[in-house]
Symmetry: C2
Subunit: 403 residues, 2 copies
């Protein structure tokens, strides 16, 4: 097990009607003038935006607003938010939404007190050493951004999608999480969120660090719970308990607990970031279009964890590979596990290759080139993938079918 620091100071306020506490919480964490950031449309339509603003006003907080933040959020809205926050002297950023809004809010929070260009943090030219406090009212469980110190932003000129990771500064002070707010999410968005949180766990699970039995088990537990609850929310969008399990799983998947003491991988996320930066696809769907090809490649190059996941998470048993030659069994177990994962994602309406994602002829040269330009000569850690290997995986993901 590696040495580690685990520090997740966010206060999670979870359950029915919890958004009514937003004003009190923001005040408690020092807000006097809050910049409220959101996508705008659904929060306005549902009345959530009005309810939250009322709660802030009742707590004596002046409200400024920034709306229109889109999926795969860009630097444009970050610059706009920094301007408003500076002009209006905001001392707090409140995100109402999912990962795109929260990540934008974090970038604004880091940018406001910084004299240079906020993009310096994302391009590793500067380190965050101060930020405005951020609060969250979560409406889309997926990104885990409510619990992480990270932010992912796309630069409009040149389509660079980069992530910023901080141990402490960008962790939200509080996150209000009412599962009822997710009842009206479109099915495809619900499914994409489920895929995203599953892959957040997998990026930590696929590790060569030995002696991490506890975190292996915690990863497996979180994946199994998501797999059990996913069909329930798809079949009955108003199933409170299933929505609650999925929402809380999104947090557990990404607050860092599943990665304590081990190297993490993140190759699939980085490979997906290039896809969604160029083609503007939903992040979760981009992931399910990459991961099966990645897993199948890994099965041939570093099988241990692929096989372990098949057994412990996907429930593949010795009976499933009965009769096969003993030497062939681990491979067959691993492939059966991948097949079950593909079936699950397909049953949720998700693509499991790049063609199904709606990109039959992806520009592999550009994807590989930008990936390594942004991330260096190799990506990932479970196997360090150079440009030849990432090209193989992108290529096999175009029309991937389970073996």
């Amino acid at each position: 097990m590696n040495n580690f620091i685990f520090h997740s100071p966010t206060e999670f306020v979870f359950g029915r009607n919890t958004e009514q506490h937003t004003g009190r919480l923001a005040r408690q964490y020092g807000a006097r003038r809050a910049l409220v950031a959101s996508g705008g449309v659904s929060a306005r339509r549902s009345g959530l935006l009005a309810r939250v603003c009322e709660s802030l006003t009742e707590a004596g907080i002046t409200v400024c607003q920034l709306h229109g933040i889109k999926p795969n959020p860009t630097d444009t809205k970050v610059y706009e938010g920094i301007d408003i926050a500076r002009t209006q002297q905001c001392d707090f950023i409140l995100a109402i939404g999912g990962g795109s809004v929260i990540d934008t809010a974090k970038a604004i929070a880091a940018g406001v007190p910084y004299e240079g260009d906020f993009w310096d943090f994302f391009s590793s030219k500067a380190t965050v050493g101060m930020a405005l406090p951020v609060g969250v009212v979560l409406t889309i469980p997926a990104s885990g951004s409510e619990a992480s110190g990270n932010s992912v932003i796309t630069r409009t000129d040149g389509l660079h999608k980069l992530s910023l990771r901080t141990q402490y500064w960008l962790r939200p002070k509080f996150a209000v999480m009412n599962p009822e707010l997710t009842f009206t999410l479109p099915p495809y968005q619900t499914a994409c969120g489920i895929a995203d949180m599953m892959v957040h766990v997998m990026e930590r699970y696929f590790s060569n660090t030995t002696g991490c039995e506890l975190t292996d088990r915690l990863c497996e537990a979180t994946l199994k719970a998501i797999i059990d609850e996913a069909p329930k929310v798809m079949n009955n969008p108003g199933d409170y308990d299933a929505r609650a399990n999925i929402m809380w799983a999104g947090t557990i998947a990404h607050n860092g607990i599943c990665g304590t003491g081990r190297d993490e991988d993140w190759a699939c996320h980085f490979m997906e970031h290039e896809l969604s930066a160029i083609y503007d696809v939903a992040h979760g769907a981009g992931l399910t279009a990459i991961v099966p090809a990645w897993l199948t490649w890994m099965q041939a190059h570093n099988i241990d964890k692929v096989e372990q996941m098949a057994r412990r998470v996907m429930g593949v048993t010795p009976a499933d590979v009965e009769g096969a030659a003993p030497g062939a069994k681990p491979r067959l177990v691993a492939l059966e596990g991948i097949r079950r994962l593909v079936n699950l994602w397909q049953s949720l309406g998700l693509p499991t290759n790049i063609t199904q994602l709606g990109i039959p002829e992806p520009d592999i040269d550009t994807l590989v080139c930008k990936l390594h330009e942004n991330k260096g000569p190799t990506v990932g850690a479970y196997v360090k993938l150079d440009h030849t290997m990432t090209r193989q995986i992108y290529q096999s993901a175009i029309n991937y079918q389970p073996q």
Copy 2:
């Protein structure tokens, strides 16, 4: 799933040599004059006390000291600590040790700024609304107190052992956790710690709250990891990874994550507190003397979770009860699970009834009387146990043997 707040702001600094960061961490959390609390003997002998004090001094922190804190800590040391901290104007309490030292440190931290008697917090006459910051250098993984907002103290006059629970105020600011510091723990103490953390998970696992699949799975994952690693630390006390898994499991078991969204039980802890208050036995051993009888009683009165634990944690399969009548199977599965747990604890050298604990003729009348005097007419939630039921369980625990 119930509404909940989860807030675990402690910074965990985990791994080899991490105690060298104590001074920097204490300074970061505001220490100028720290009261260092410990048992004294082993921390002095190992040189840890000197190393930590040096780290504090190097960080510019003045060191005051309070040693001689014993297992099942009493109010005497708390009063002594409050006096020293007030006289020496300490602004920080640093605990070096396990649960007894940490719980004493927390009680001192709450007592220093309070005008009345600190015991008011434990007897529910007052609520903690302010406390000095507490830091921890953990040497005994067991209590989970490094991650909790709780403290358990015994009142010397009358043998009341009471627990204080706070959501926020008594959570340590940081916990330094170096598994190497646990290599020299005596085997019995290691085993008692393992039992304590297992029962911390079980107190949360045994719940009637429905729709908590994720926390069920997290509880099961933590228990399974402990069960896998426990024989390794007993057989090879210097196995770093096994020690690290056990140490981190003790934190996960008690930082609250395993209980999010559900009612918790705690009857076994309360029943044990009466035992160790009167007979001064090790808390972990007191638990393993009570829990098998409690589980067997529950198997007859509310079998669901007993059976689920047998299957999902203890690995009981349909093959283990093949041939039995279908209606009898859940009971047989549950009993086989209890048997395996008893075998595990016995293999670690732990007692599994009160006689083995060294108390062949416990004063059941006094135990039952004090339990309900301290905790009210019923204890627990999985089944609310009145004095008739707790008497039955204490009674059957005297010479308990698995069925």
